[in-house]
């Protein structure tokens, strides 16, 4: 085994990690804002809002992210009004921004479905108790519905975020030299795909491992009520054993 080659490849790919993280962070953050808006629109009870969010989710969940990215990067520049727009054009001619936009739009669709599901899963008795004690709608949402829904959403949402770290690799097809783009370049230059892709794969694995651990930790902090009580020794299993 050529350790020097592995080490130098690792190092080159790692140098692209900040760019990967940047795409990931902004994609996820903007996606979260959009998802919150979509969830609110869906839950608001307005028919128009419901139709819009349904259509949105249908389109962005139903087609590959790669297709969305191509359409945004290559497709939108076909329109004159976009090329002449002082706001849209600076964003849409930049492959980095395009990737972030595509990722944000895509993850917003999935996340809003996750949030909608977890809002609906909040036990109705918990909300009724808040009503019966005179809490106004917003207080009820802030103190009861949201904290419970957030805990319910975390496991699925952390999976979605891990999917997004992997999706950053698509940025390489629009010329961004993040980790995958860098790996591909080394592969082209050296003709040693196995070693190079192994290096990239290992780094993605470690990255996702840390993100998964981070979420597990947040989940742990937020769910003392699902752990054994102080002085209670037996483990309460969150999932019934079926096997």
């Amino acid at each position: 085994m050529d350790f020097d080659f592995y080490l130098s490849t690792m190092w080159s790919v790692l140098k692209a990690l900040p760019l990967t993280l940047e795409i990931w962070f902004f994609g996820v953050a903007i996606g979260l804002v959009l998802a919150t808006g979509l969830t609110w629109l869906r839950a608001s009870g307005y028919k128009l809002g419901e139709y819009f969010t349904r259509a949105y989710v249908f389109v962005f969940r139903g087609s590959p992210l790669l297709v969305q990215l191509y359409l945004i990067y290559f497709g939108l520049s076909q329109f004159d009004f976009i090329r002449h727009s002082p706001i849209l054009w600076p964003i849409l001619r930049d492959p980095m921004y395009c990737t972030i936009v595509a990722m944000a739009l895509n993850t917003a669709a999935y996340s809003s479905e996750i949030f909608r599901g977890s809002l609906r899963a909040v036990p109705v008795g918990q909300i009724e108790a808040a009503k019966a004690f005179g809490m106004p709608a917003f207080t009820r949402f802030r103190l009861v519905t949201l904290p419970i829904a957030l805990r319910l959403a975390l496991p699925a949402y952390s999976t979605e975020i891990i999917l997004m770290t992997k999706a950053t690799a698509l940025a390489s097809v629009v010329t961004i030299m993040e980790m995958m783009g860098t790996a591909q370049k080394i592969q082209h230059d050296t003709f040693r795909p196995i070693e190079v892709l192994t290096c990239a794969g290992v780094i993605y694995l470690l990255l996702n491992l840390s993100i998964a651990r981070l979420f597990a930790w947040v989940e742990y902090l937020l769910s003392p009520h699902l752990r054994p009580a102080p002085g209670q020794s037996q483990q309460i299993k969150p999932v019934p054993e079926v096997l």
């Binding site: 108790a129 019966a132 809490m135 106004p136 805990r151 003392p224 009520h225 009580a229």
Partner: protein
């Protein structure tokens, strides 16, 4: 001398005329199914009214219409003389005219649920201070102090930092009663507070409720505990198919059931 006579004379009628809670001709349908067919009821300060009836007779719906967890189709609810104002909506149903009024009145009508409904992500102490702080806008420190005193009273002070899922049903229900007391409610609504409990845990909850009755709390209690209804309550109301079948003094009602329905109900119960 004459002044004190005057106040005494004035005080009596005003005590009598303002019921702590009064319900007049309340009706409620779910689709075609008429669940409440014109129920009226009045509780004065210190009254404990036990509401009996077989399953499906509309007991829960009655309580839930009183604090507007369900919207009654017609009828009046007054709490301490104040009418809950309703308005006609476009589809012909009535809805609360002023949600702020409803919220204010709900805060005076603390409810204890069959399945406790303690907020599971909050500790017992947090459960007790949430509504007083965020609804009544009282200072947190004062609420915490009151909460600890209430938890001592219902005998679960040691569990104040526990989360509800870590406690037995009896402890959870006592915490839920303490949570209701923390609101200093004018009227307490109990919907089968002991029905979800293992038999050996019923006693501890009933003891707390008995002590509330003794200190003069106004309570509407939906229950299947005949002992409680007979010995603790000041009135018993028997619902049958959405109507008040009979209403009266508990000793009298149990000694000489006024209707065939009620007689059958208690006979079935003792079997």
């Amino acid at each position: 001398m004459s002044a004190s006579l005057a106040t005494a004379a004035n005080a009596k009628p005003s005590l009598d005329t303002t019921a702590a809670i009064s319900v007049k001709d309340m009706r409620k349908c779910f689709g075609d199914h008429e669940v409440l067919k014109g129920i009226s009821l009045e509780a004065h300060k210190g009254d404990v009214i036990s509401i009996l009836g077989s399953s499906g007779s509309g007991k829960s719906t009655l309580l839930r219409c009183i604090n507007l967890l369900e919207t009654p189709d017609s009828g009046e609810v007054r709490v301490d003389g104040e009418l809950i104002r309703m308005k006609q909506s476009r589809d012909g149903h009535q809805t609360p005219a002023d949600i702020h009024q409803v919220e204010r009145i709900r805060a005076d009508l603390a409810m204890v649920f069959q399945s406790f409904n303690l907020w599971s992500h909050m500790t017992v102490l947090e459960n007790l201070v949430a509504a007083p702080v965020h609804v009544l806008k009282r200072p947190r420190a004062e609420c915490l102090e009151q909460a600890e005193a209430l938890l001592k009273r219902v005998g679960i002070w040691e569990r104040r930092n526990y989360y509800p899922p870590h406690m037995s049903g009896g402890q959870q229900q006592r915490a839920a009663i303490a949570r209701a007391l923390a609101m200093n409610p004018k009227v307490m609504l109990f919907d089968e507070p002991t029905s979800a409990l293992d038999p050996e845990l019923v006693g501890e909850v009933l003891r707390v409720m008995r002590s509330l009755a003794e200190e003069g709390r106004t309570m509407l209690v939906v229950t299947h505990e005949m002992g409680f209804a007979r010995d603790v309550s000041s009135k018993v109301m028997f619902l049958h198919k959405g109507e008040v079948d009979s209403l009266g003094e508990p000793k009298e009602m149990f000694a000489r059931p006024p209707t065939q329905q009620f007689k059958q109900f208690i006979t079935n119960f003792n079997k």
